[in-house]
């Protein structure tokens, strides 16, 4: 490993904790040397409810990844989620000072600073600034330097978070002597894994439906136009089934996985499934159509919420948007059909890069794989691939840790 660099990615999800450890050989070669996925308890709707349980699971995951890779993990990239994350568009303007009205670095910096200077509520911190095209006298440009005009406007999609909630996972990770290098929104990390730059350029909505939360990000021209999070996920489907049939959570989870379907069609009212299937005491028949209708109503509502959130921006930009789904819930049968019906856009289920082993290509691992890609890009120095969504949060994270 001489001359190589070790990178790590960590996702503390509602249902599982995933860790990837990799060795960066050079700018083009990455060797994944350790991985671990441990079922998580103690988190509901993306929020830590039981720090001890989370700490225990995290310890298990990190220990396993270290054991497999044979190294001590020093730092990781972390993904965050939850409805405490709030995004908004922020703009900053600066008059062009050059005699010949050519944009200089100084003008760009002033516009950037202005855009990032907006005050946020007490108890909240900025976690990510994602740059959108500059406007020179109202005309969009990617690279403003040496353009001619009288005013430059910097545009950012800024995301801020509740400081207390953001600290929770960081403190747990720090307790294992592991440093958090960077923080990325879960949706951005997932998109990095399941979407190509060309798709992001053409117009893309990535929806990551996890166990506790649903994150989405909208791209156009490779820029992040909007992000958002709903505290709704696969656990809600399980809960709906559990309440409807008055069955245990575990039974409801099994039914969801084995018989769940996003569209209630192709079944008759006479179709039944066995709750446990072993005909033991307590086993009982459940109507398949009801299961599907419960799941369908929840997912339909979720997609409708996403559509309501992004439709204004999509129409404003007049973009032909595609949708890529990822996250554990996308294992549900017919989910892309339902999503397409509700969102009224072409929908596919995202796949992690082909160069990964099959175990890492599962849609529920998109976030951690995307994080690893970001870590790889930074470590290899090849940051040109994702200049616009680069978070630059190290300073902020460090300041958390020292508090």
């Amino acid at each position: 490993m001489a001359g190589s660099k070790i990178i790590g990615a960590l996702e503390i999800g509602t249902s599982k904790i995933s860790v990837l450890v990799a060795e960066v050989i050079d700018a083009y070669r990455l060797n994944i040397i350790g991985r671990a996925t441990v079922a998580n308890t103690g988190i509901k709707k993306g929020r830590i409810e039981d720090p001890r349980a989370v700490s225990r699971c995290l310890h298990e995951a990190i220990a396993e990844a270290e054991k497999v890779s044979g190294i001590n993990l020093k730092s990781i990239y972390l993904s965050i989620s939850g409805s405490h994350l709030q995004g908004r568009k922020q703009i900053g303007k600066a008059q062009i000072s050059h005699m010949a009205k050519l944009v200089t670095e100084h003008d760009v910096n002033r516009a950037n600073e202005e855009a990032k200077r907006h005050a946020i509520d007490e108890g909240r911190v900025y976690v990510q600034f994602m740059r959108n095209p500059y406007l020179i006298d109202g005309s969009p440009v990617d690279e403003p330097y040496s353009c001619k005009g009288s005013e430059i406007q910097a545009n950012y999609w800024a995301v801020d978070a509740d400081e207390g909630i953001l600290k929770e996972p960081i403190q747990v990770i720090n307790s294992f002597m592991v440093k958090v290098d960077e923080i990325f929104l879960g949706s951005i990390a997932s998109a990095q894994s399941v979407a190509t730059d060309d798709e992001k350029a053409a117009g893309l909505l990535v929806i990551d439906i996890g166990a506790g939360t649903t994150d989405y990000v909208l791209y156009h021209d490779r820029y992040v136009l909007q992000t958002g999070v709903f505290d709704i996920g696969g656990d809600h489907i399980t809960n709906d089934l559990s309440i409807a049939f008055r069955i245990a959570w575990e039974s409801a989870e099994n039914i969801k996985i084995q018989h769940g379907k996003a569209i209630a069609s192709g079944t008759s009212s006479e179709d039944w499934v066995w709750m446990m299937g072993d005909l033991s005491i307590g086993d009982r028949k459940l109507p398949l159509r009801s299961i599907q209708r419960i799941i369908n109503s929840r997912l339909e509502e979720l997609f409708m919420m996403v559509r309501r959130s992004v439709i204004d921006v999509i129409e404003q930009q007049d973009m032909q948007c595609k949708v890529v789904l990822c996250g554990g819930v996308t294992n549900m049968t017919s989910i892309e059909t339902l999503a397409s019906n509700v969102l009224k856009m072409p929908v596919t289920v995202g796949r992690n890069p082909d160069w990964l082993i099959p175990e890492l290509q599962k849609p529920e691992l998109s976030t951690v794989v995307g994080l690893l890609q970001f870590a790889f890009a930074d470590a290899s120095g090849d940051i040109k691939d994702e200049p616009k969504s680069k978070g630059g949060l190290l300073g902020k994270v460090s300041s958390f840790l020292t508090r």
């Binding site: 509901k44 709707k45 929020r47 409810e49 409805s83 709903f230 505290d231 709704i232 656990d235 809600h236 399980t238 809960n239 709906d240 559990s242 309440i243 409807a244 049939f245 008055r246 959570w249 009212s269 459940l286 109507p287 159509r289 009801s290 209708r293 419960i294 109503s297 929840r298 339909e300 509502e301 919420m305």
Partner: protein
């Protein structure tokens, strides 16, 4: 400060009463009003009140039994009818019981559709008695939260306040009658103000605050004069009236709501001039709300000034919160004082009886949060997303 120059026309206002309570209110207004607004009453189980039957396919003429999901379902099947009713309206005033199965469920969906269709909606929901139980109250609060989300203003009356005004031995229906009378008066006054005084030219969000204040805590002035004179006159009169009404000088003028009515000669610069002068006199422009309206029937400029007094910093304009009431603190203080003097033994005993009998069991209760029981409410558009969708949508599931 928003300046709008669009008065609303009389025949584009719809007043809708939902359920038995709402129908009673709107029928009373319709009987006495001389205005050319469209008055409608809809109910899924019309009995004594004159109301149109709606949602027959679902309830077969029976009531929703406090289940707001049924009210929502009725809305779903009657969407076209509602859409057609809304289509020629600029402003809709809707009233009904927040805790009612039909009115509570239907009203929130109506508000959402009105917002989507660009129709301004002001809601006058009635909050239930506390003795109807926590679940009923929670459902009413959820309903109110959604109404506040989607409507321009939601001014509530609480039945509990009326319970205190009647003798303990009197049936609670008398409290409802008193509430109906007050709500009738409030809506009628609002209609008069909108149509006769051009109040709608305001940023109408302020109505919520105006009508939550109580008449003794606000001042209404009307002055007719040229702009340069009118401002001084109004300012002086306002100070005098404030002194007369509120000898307690710890209470200060905290918020101004001003509308300017004028004939065709009224220009934007006139409006701005008045705005500036009043802002100079009363300070913080953040707490002033300014509107203007041209009415060709007017001759000369007319100023109407509302001054809200003694609200203090606790009052957040337009704040939407599930947890805390959106009422003005002055009103809350008054209520607290009256509660102190009148302990509510009777309400407690009724609450016990009702809760024991389980008469007010509704679907959207906390017990339906299951796995998420101990977590924070997951409110989006006034709905708790942790409650199963099929329950909130009223889907019939064979289990």
């Amino acid at each position: 400060m928003a300046v709008t120059l669009q008065p609303v026309s009389e025949n584009k206002i719809g007043v809708l009463g939902l359920g038995r309570l709402g129908s009673a209110i709107v029928n009373q207004i319709a009987a006495s009003s001389q205005l050319d607004a469209e008055f409608s009453c809809w109910d899924c189980a019309p009995e004594l009140e004159k109301a149109e039957l709606i949602g027959f396919q679902i309830t077969h003429g029976l009531s929703c039994r406090s289940q707001q999901e049924i009210g929502k379902s009725i809305f779903l099947i009657e969407q076209e009818r509602v859409k057609s009713w809304l289509s020629n309206k600029e402003l809709v005033i809707v009233t009904g019981s927040c805790a009612g199965g039909f009115a509570g469920g239907f009203m929130t969906e109506l508000a959402q559709m009105a917002k989507h269709d660009g129709v301004s909606l002001i809601a006058y929901p009635v909050m239930p008695f506390a003795f109807e139980g926590r679940k009923t109250m929670d459902a009413a609060k959820l309903c109110l939260g959604r109404l506040r989300e989607f409507s321009l203003a939601a001014a509530t009356l609480e039945l509990d306040d009326y319970l205190e005004r009647i003798p303990e031995t009197t049936p609670a229906t008398e409290a409802i009658d008193l509430c109906v009378a007050d709500m009738t008066h409030a809506i009628d006054t609002l209609l008069q103000l909108i149509l006769r005084e051009g109040l709608f030219a305001f940023n109408i969000e302020i109505l919520k605050n105006t009508f939550n204040l109580g008449i003794d805590k606000s001042i209404l002035l009307c002055k007719t004069a040229k702009p340069e004179e009118a401002v001084e006159d109004v300012v002086n009169a306002l100070v005098e009236q404030a002194d007369a009404k509120l000898p307690d000088r710890e209470l200060t003028i905290d918020r101004l709501m001003i509308t300017v009515l004028g004939d065709d000669n009224l220009s934007l610069s006139d409006v701005n001039q008045i705005n500036e002068k009043i802002s100079e006199r009363f300070g913080n422009p953040d707490k002033s709300h300014f509107g203007a309206c041209i009415d060709s029937r007017m001759s000369g400029l007319k100023l109407i000034v509302y001054a809200c007094i003694g609200l203090g910093d606790q009052f957040e304009l337009g704040a939407i919160s599930e947890e805390k009431s959106n009422e003005a603190p002055v009103k809350t203080v008054a209520r607290k004082a009256s509660r102190k003097t009148k302990p509510k033994k009777r309400r407690t005993s009724r609450a016990k009886i009702k809760d024991d009998q389980g008469l007010f069991d509704i679907i959207m209760s906390e017990s339906n949060r299951g796995y998420f029981e101990d977590t924070d409410l997951n409110l989006i558009d006034g709905e708790d997303m942790d409650v199963p969708t099929y329950l909130r949508r009223g889907l019939r599931i064979k289990t």
